[in-house]
Symmetry: C2
Subunit: 221 residues, 2 copies
């Protein structure tokens, strides 16, 4: 049965967080890939660690602080101008190549973004990608001052969209996010672009896709 | 002022989680380091993610499940015998070389371990290392069915030892753990064996040491 609403994770699912690599490489030749990977790792760790220690900070603050940490770890000199240049890049991430076409095919359904990203970063990014009209809502966990995969973040989508958990199809390429949503009660597709194993977190996704481009056909079948 | 009690993290601080590398290399030649590093990374991620999603599992279960994931990710065939061999190795981790000498010099103080490790794994490890009499208490976050760096884990040490937070000196080589403890109110030494930057988590350790061997002199000064 086709879900009443589709809810998408943003960073890593619709938008490629590693599309900052080229800009990183311009600033520090040859270091772009290592910096981008560590930046993403630390960004996520800080969301989990701050939640546990009860010291919430917005995803934008965490993202900037993670960049500081990573540049220090990799011994890449970071000044205010470089930090701002990379931050501006983060507001202009590229969608994955198959995303615009897939979203176009899914148009007409109720669709939303549910992201850790605070409004000061997700709203400019959605606008930059020309997707303001694609989604009925852009929902940020920042409204609750917590992060996925806390169950209340998924409940927030239920409340805001007015659709029961069983009527929501959730799409994420972050396996832990997909399993958090499954554990909450959504129907879940995990976009497994890297051919990774399923995380061991007491749940399995309902479907595993190699890219978002497969979703329209999967929903139609 | 010298603290009334010293509380030590276990895994990565007293005991070298990467002392499994040799055994891993015996099972899968050349893959020991990669497996051990990913195993530790996933083990920690699962503690944070399970806490957020409110699906507690013991550190021993998480450690075994993380191993399964990592072997699948690295395409290393894991059967029950290999899993058991590595699990047994985890119960016999080596202390870091400077740990026994440092603990010997610190003897006479009130000392405890505060660990994520469930009793079924930390107790055999402490016995294997002949440290049963070194510590006044071996405290596991498992008693609370949560993980560091949730503040209630540090409170558990306060309650069990009968020492106020300001009287506890906490020692960890996991920076996030050190900062969680600092945020809670302990005096904190971070053992920074890798010369890493301080994590950006709204706190700074009181002292940064290159190894546990430096602690006795630091406390005496």
């Amino acid at each position: 049965m086709s879900p009443q609403a589709l809810v998408f994770d943003a960073y890593g699912t619709l938008y490629d967080v590693h599309s900052v690599i080229q800009r990183c490489d311009q600033l520090w030749p040859g270091k772009g890939t290592a910096l981008s990977q560590l930046w993403r790792t630390k960004q996520l760790e800080y969301t989990w660690q701050r939640t546990l220690m009860r010291r919430y900070a917005s995803f934008s603050q965490i993202t900037r602080e993670a960049l500081e940490y990573c540049c220090e770890a990799l011994k890449l000199p970071l000044d205010a101008a470089k930090a701002e240049a990379l931050w501006q890049q983060y507001l202009r991430l590229s969608p994955y190549p198959d995303v615009p076409g897939a979203l176009h095919k899914l148009a007409g359904r109720k669709m939303a973004i549910l992201t850790n990203g605070s409004p000061d970063m997700i709203d400019p990014l959605v606008r930059h990608c020309g997707m303001e009209k694609t989604f009925d809502a852009v929902l940020s966990a920042d409204a609750l001052r917590t992060f996925k995969i806390a169950p209340q973040v998924y409940q927030f989508a239920v409340d805001q969209l007015g659709v029961a958990p069983s009527g929501i199809g959730f799409v994420s390429s972050n396996c832990w996010d997909a399993l958090g949503a499954k554990n909450f009660g959504f129907k879940v597709w995990w976009i497994n672009r890297q051919d990774a194993p399923v995380d061991r977190l007491d749940a399995r996704p309902d479907g595993i896709l190699a890219g978002l481009g497969e979703l329209p056909a999967r929903l139609a079948s």
